[in-house]
């Protein structure tokens, strides 16, 4: 059904563009006055979305789709949104982006890191189209980048984990060793240790973003190793499901995963693109699109820990609420010193707050995490 909608939208878009062009030609000579009659349709801001996976992935892309719906709901007739799903991070992406430009789309959200080069290329040609690229780092006059502070969600989950672990050992099923993922692991552990400083953590890498059987195997080995609360940075609900089977606890990530495991689910660190998307569309409608790099977190409502389980003690829920409130009003930051890595070296002095360059280059584990970040074993 979605596909049909998308197609028919594109079709009507193309038709109305043709009609407009036709009108323009005919009425050019007699008078300029009748032209505005067609203007309301032209005034509609066309917003396009490029998705890397199907909307039904239950995670990353689904959350972007919710953001798109938020735009449609808020601006109603003033915008027209279209999307293309399952666009590979290759030359196809460039075609889709150009196509959107050709259909009259004026604002494009490219929602995966791998689109970066193609966004740059197309943006250089289509100067009057604004591009918003998720998780990228290259900006241009008409290209902005945006991302979510997923580590704040991991920290809030960590607080719950610290309160719920009986073995005092938490575990993380990690995907691919890049700074973002290492930062999330550490933030989760810092959250747990804010409740109980004695908490230890184990990390298992699967070196893939999406492989449900492997994620389940990794979770199983964590549980066998004495872990009773797990977090993950992989994309399927497999870890949560394994926790349900084995009677331990875990979290959902990106989207609300409570439906997958009613007993094991402790909370979901849910990304909400709605606030950012509606702001950008509002700015664009007011001709005040700004560009630049945007990194939104709990403060802006871009991420939060939702659906905290009923059996989590009130004291822990209060701690989560306090941290959330601190993040909101800016009085608290997850990465505030003193923070030591697991070799005992101080990485943030007391009172020091981790800045952007620090946060983007975390390649160590904080104290209490076993092992070393892959790629740094020899150091």
């Amino acid at each position: 059904m979605n596909l049909v909608n998308k197609r028919s939208l594109l079709k009507t878009a193309a038709l109305s563009a043709l009609a407009l062009a036709g009108c323009g030609k005919k009425e050019e000579a007699p008078a300029a006055a009748p032209a505005p009659a067609a203007a309301p349709a032209a005034d509609k801001l066309k917003v396009g979305f490029v998705y890397v996976s199907p909307i039904g992935d239950g995670g990353w892309t689904y959350q972007h789709e919710l953001g798109r719906r938020a735009i449609q709901e808020k601006f109603g007739d003033k915008v027209e949104t279209t999307f293309v799903e399952s666009v590979p991070e290759g030359a196809d992406a460039e075609r889709v982006l150009r196509d959107m430009g050709a259909q009259g789309t004026k604002l494009v959200f490219a929602t995966s890191f791998g689109y970066q080069e193609f966004v740059q290329k197309v943006a250089a040609d289509l100067k009057d189209v604004k591009f918003e690229h998720a998780t990228g780092y290259k900006q241009a006059d008409n290209v902005a980048t945006y991302d979510t502070k997923t580590f704040e969600g991991a920290y809030l989950a960590g607080i719950v984990a610290g309160g719920m672990s009986k073995t005092k050992t938490v575990g993380v099923v990690a995907s691919v060793p890049i700074p973002e993922v290492v930062r999330n692991i550490n933030s989760f552990v810092l959250g747990a240790q804010s409740v109980d400083p004695a908490i230890k953590a184990k990390v298992v890498w699967v070196n893939e973003w999406f492989s449900p059987p492997k994620e389940a195997e990794a979770a199983t080995s964590l549980i066998n190793g004495g872990v009773d609360v797990m977090y993950q940075n992989t994309n399927s609900p497999s870890v949560l499901k394994t926790a349900e089977e084995r009677g331990v606890r875990a979290f959902g990530k990106d989207g609300d995963m409570s439906a997958y495991a009613p007993k094991a689910h402790l909370g979901s660190a849910v990304i909400d693109w709605g606030p950012y998307y509606t702001k950008v569309v509002g700015d664009t409608l007011a001709r005040q699109w700004q560009g630049g790099a945007h990194w939104w977190g709990v403060k802006e409502g871009a991420i939060d820990l939702l659906k905290i389980a009923d059996d989590v003690p009130q004291e822990i829920k209060d701690r989560v609420a306090k941290a959330r409130a601190g993040l909101r009003d800016g009085s608290f930051a997850v990465w505030t010193g003193p923070v030591k890595d697991n070799t005992g070296k101080e990485v943030l002095a007391a009172g020091q707050v981790g800045d952007l360059p620090f946060l983007s280059s975390i390649n160590f584990y904080v104290a209490g995490v076993e092992g070393k970040v892959p790629g740094t074993e020899g150091k």
């Binding site: 199907p54 039904g56 992935d57 239950g58 575990g171 060793p177 184990k202 990390v203 298992v204 890498w205 699967v206 070196n207 893939e208 999406f210 492989s211 449900p212 059987p213 492997k214 994620e215 389940a216 195997e217 990794a218 199983t220 080995s221 964590l222 066998n224 190793g225 872990v227 399927s236 609900p237 497999s238 499901k241 394994t242 089977e245 084995r246 009677g247 439906a259 997958y260 076993e370 092992g371 070393k372 892959p374 790629g375 074993e377």
Partner: protein, 295 residues
């Protein structure tokens, strides 16, 4: 000590998925047909099994549906390559791609579906046991069938020299179809095992390459059922072992550890199968070749 018992338990489950699929593929390869569609069949079967169990609440019906889905897809493949003599490799690849896409499309509404609460038998691995033992019994049965029975001899003859088998009056095409359907049913069972027991949920692409590993395993195991079983457990065991090592904090690059299951399985099987004469003796001579009864 208990952690080793758990390690062995999880090794057996991990190996069973691959063993079931690979043993099925071995039978259809023994009859001379290569079916590269394993991944697609497993995905469709994983979905069929999951959807059936969600709908009926009965896990065994789910397994049956998985096997049936695998068998049906294999039958379509069989008719194409056996009667219409399409290229086996191309048709198999097409089946695989089709299965991946079709299961993703048809499974849209099952992404967040919940399996019914199944009676917990106390021991978490107990529910896996029928299939885990089933795979072992199957391997023994296949050794006996292929080496010691007349029917097994006929099956091998069809894979070695379909012309001779045809001349002796055996219905070569029907025997091949039977073998292909059997292989599909076992791949289906393996697929349903993944979505019902191993990672009890449905998400698209969830088989994540297990079908391709099973295909490779039949070749590396030189078409011997016992070796297929050994290779599958070895693969499952090293997979679990490397996660176990990571979880106990052993400081080896995780990327290297991730590579180990593939490396170990290939090295061991290549070593025990390094005799070229042995490979010649075991590889079905007409594997992948079309058969025209008239010629």
């Amino acid at each position: 000590m208990e952690s080793y018992a758990l390690l062995i338990g999880s090794t057996l489950s991990a190996g069973t998925v691959i063993a079931l699929a690979a043993l099925g593929l071995l039978v259809n390869e023994k009859a001379g047909i290569v079916n590269l569609g394993a991944e697609g069949m497993m995905l469709c079967a994983a979905l069929a099994g999951f959807a059936t169990t969600v709908g009926t609440g009965n896990e065994w019906l789910g397994f049956a549906a998985g096997a049936l889905a695998g068998a049906l897809l294999a039958a379509v493949f069989g008719v194409l390559v056996i009667w219409l003599n399409t290229n086996q490799y191309a048709t198999g690849l097409a089946l695989s791609l089709f299965g991946v896409g079709f299961s993703a499309f048809a499974g849209q509404n099952f992404v967040q579906a919940k399996l019914p609460e199944l009676a917990q038998d106390g021991i978490p691995y107990l529910r896996d046991l029928p299939l885990v033992y089933g795979a072992m019994v199957l391997a023994v049965a296949l050794v006996w069938f292929l080496d010691r029975t007349r029917a097994g001899l006929v099956l091998r003859a069809v894979g070695e020299s379909p012309q001779s088998a045809h001349a002796l009056g055996y219905p070569v095409r029907w025997i091949r179809l039977g073998a292909v359907v059997f292989g599909g049913a076992l791949c289906g069972l393996a697929g349903a095992f993944i979505s019902l027991e191993y990672t009890p949920l449905w998400v698209e692409g969830m088989v994540a390459g297990r079908g391709w590993i099973a295909l490779a395993l039949t070749t590396f195991a030189t078409w011997r059922p016992a070796r297929v079983l050994l290779g599958a457990y070895l693969f499952g065991g090293v997979t679990m072992l490397q996660f176990h090592l990571q979880a106990t904090g052993v400081q080896v690059a995780s990327q290297l550890l991730s590579m180990l299951p593939y490396l170990a399985t290939i090295v061991v099987l290549v070593l025990i199968s390094r005799n070229p004469a042995w490979i010649r003796a075991n590889m079905p001579a007409s594997l992948g070749k079309p058969f025209y009864p008239g010629s």
